[in-house]
Symmetry: C2
Subunit: 400 residues, 2 copies
């Protein structure tokens, strides 16, 4: 087809092919150990239980499983989510009708971009920030403003400086076990963040896919409990139950939910009926906490295994802070080694990861990289990190 017929939109002409997509092609080779993706461990999906629920919903719901549903989502599922995550949010009149079911968190990000961002608007995002959010929002052509992360979360001095010169549409943040860094906004900083945002009347998009996957006993209250009047809260079942069902949600004020519903209807009408009913049946039948505890215990062991392997193989070449939850280590190479150079050497050594640069909206720090530990076995983690160790020694010699 000749170019002059396909006059693409400016938004898509600006979007490069995702580097991560390219990496995932390389890692399709089964000989390569991959720490690149962000996949959960499929052995922890409750397949048997979901199978029993699937059988049961056929007799319980029949043809209703396959008919159109409402754009807002399956009402009993919205009620379950409200009871589980939001009933203690102290904001008058909020209930299950403040929840919109989305086709995964990714769609939540797309819908938020759609209803808020005009081309050229400023939006704030952690630096480095979640790649899926950068990709979703980029389609609406905002000006990204990165707010650096310290070990205890967002750099407030930097944030306040930016807020004194800009009126951003929102701050997008992943405050708990952030992707890609694994960092968490410290509990004592959360109330302070709400004060900064309240003073400037800034909307907060709190994306919390990893909050449940914590390795310490006590949960940190989410930002919406500090700043309910202007927080849009995103959640997902992708990390706790199944990404393949593509089910997440947005909890927000009715004014925002109404706009999101219009965008959702225009975007895909509604999320899958059968998937929503199946998920709800599972949640009503089985103990969600038991399932989440299995994941916490397993990923904690994997995190410890990777930590030990990193200490053995990479101490001399890299720094990191071990995460207290989530699925990732964020590594900074010493002596300004390039993570892209390391990536190329690592692929030759049959191990993959994601170099840090796609997580920056500008001026990437080229010595950073992300390692996923949820998807590999303990043995694979040991072997893979040892291979990265070999690769880093090799490129250090070259650069020495």
């Amino acid at each position: 087809m000749s170019e002059n017929r396909n006059r693409f939109s400016s938004r898509i002409l600006k979007s490069n092919k995702s580097f991560i997509r390219e990496i995932l092609k390389v890692t399709g080779n089964p000989e390569i150990i991959s720490f690149a993706g962000g996949q959960p461990d499929p052995d922890l999906f409750p397949v048997t239980e979901l199978g029993r629920c699937a059988e049961y919903v056929f007799s319980k719901y029949g043809s209703k499983l396959f008919q159109y549903g409402t754009s807002e989502g399956f009402a009993p599922l919205r009620e379950w989510i409200f009871e589980k995550y939001y009933k203690n949010i102290n904001y008058p009149g909020w209930g299950p009708e403040n929840i919109l079911i989305t086709s995964g968190s990714q769609q939540a990000l797309d819908l938020i971009g759609k209803i808020f961002i005009d081309s050229g608007d400023s939006i704030l995002i952690e630096r480095p920030g979640y790649l899926g959010a950068i990709q979703a929002f980029a389609m609406y052509e905002p000006e990204f403003v990165g707010i650096p992360l310290r070990d205890d979360g967002l750099d407030f001095d930097f944030l306040e400086r930016e807020l004194s010169r800009l009126e951003p549409k929102f701050l997008y943040s992943n405050p708990t076990f952030q992707n890609p860094t694994g960092k968490t906004l410290a509990a004592h900083k959360r109330s302070f963040l709400s004060e900064i945002l309240r003073k400037r009347k800034v909307l907060l998009i709190e994306d919390n896919p990893y909050g449940e996957i914590r390795f310490e006993s006590e949960a940190i209250p989410s930002m919406i409990s500090y700043y309910p009047e202007a927080t849009v809260s995103l959640g997902t079942f992708s990390k706790t139950l199944s990404p393949g069902l593509r089910l997440g949600w947005i909890f927000a004020s009715k004014e925002i939910v109404e706009r999101l519903v219009v965008a959702k209807q225009a975007g895909d009408l509604h999320s899958g009926t059968f998937s929503q009913i199946l998920l709800h049946e599972y949640l009503e039948t089985y103990d969600f906490e038991t399932q989440v505890n299995r994941i916490r215990n397993s990923y904690f062991k994997k995190m410890e295994c990777m930590e030990k392997a990193l200490i053995e193989s990479l101490s001399d070449f890299a720094d990191w802070v071990s995460p207290k939850g989530g699925m990732f280590f964020w590594i900074r190479l010493k002596n300004s080694l390039s993570s892209k150079d390391l990536f190329e050497e690592a692929i030759r050594n049959k191990v993959a990861f994601v170099p840090g640069f796609p997580f920056y909206t500008d001026n990437p720090e080229t010595d950073t990289l992300r390692l996923n530990f949820s998807h590999s076995s303990l043995e694979t983690i040991e072997t893979g990190i040892s291979r990265i160790g070999d690769a880093v020694r090799k490129i250090s010699k070259i650069h020495a």
Copy 2:
């Protein structure tokens, strides 16, 4: 939440709440007979067969059912669609990799809007046109240019006049059993349309949700067979199998599919893994033609029943052309009666339909309305049309 925190995008501020959404709220009342929606008859969903497939895929695929998938979609499903619908398209090098699985046709429309439309671009659409397409494209703020429909499809004189003054991004068309009018672009006009578009190098988006639901034995070749080099072909399983699975597809050149995949990844990563595998298992196990024939036979009877009822109750008050497929009658009231006035009277009479105005992007014809026949039983069709007849007699007296 105060207004100054929620500064919505201009696209969403321009989008009114859907009138159809408001109608569907009214029709939630079970006493009201509704010809308003576009739902298939759930009694025709192959629930038993899908139940057997669901059981089988648990043992066949296990945890794979619930893991992340590729943005392009489940490869065997893409192959099935290619074999069924496109293998005879005479265009070099095209294959299953030209297919992107979407979360229903609605998402296909959203992705097409995303990759093609910049604010202010002209796009051509039938007048009246499919509401879901108007809603999806409106999010990207184009200038809609309506091309009137004659009884045998698009008005070519009008089309050529518009093409001589505009360079539209594409023509969106639903050439077979169109929603809302049920009209079909005549076979002899299809080759001529391809010549018009070829001469002006205009991209054609051919949306074909109803092509399978034909009441005559012979299928009309789709537009892509006449104009393969610049047609983007949309299909769906929503009318033949199940809308609740939310599965449709786009078939296009690789250049376009590559851009669509980037937009799909940013939009919802991929469509549901379990749903795709379940659908594919059904298609491999059962005879799709048998299923489609059940639907054709049932909807043909319903169409005939509605036709008879319309002749009895509305001949003096309205004109229409009986559709040769699809799910809708398009009615024009005589004497410039207002379909909105009729709607209000009809609701009092406990029957609903969609007035025609939402299907126009400008200057709506206020004497038109759409009736769905797929979702009601024969008895309900008779009762409902008789009630509309009573309502039209009443408003005719008032206006006489």
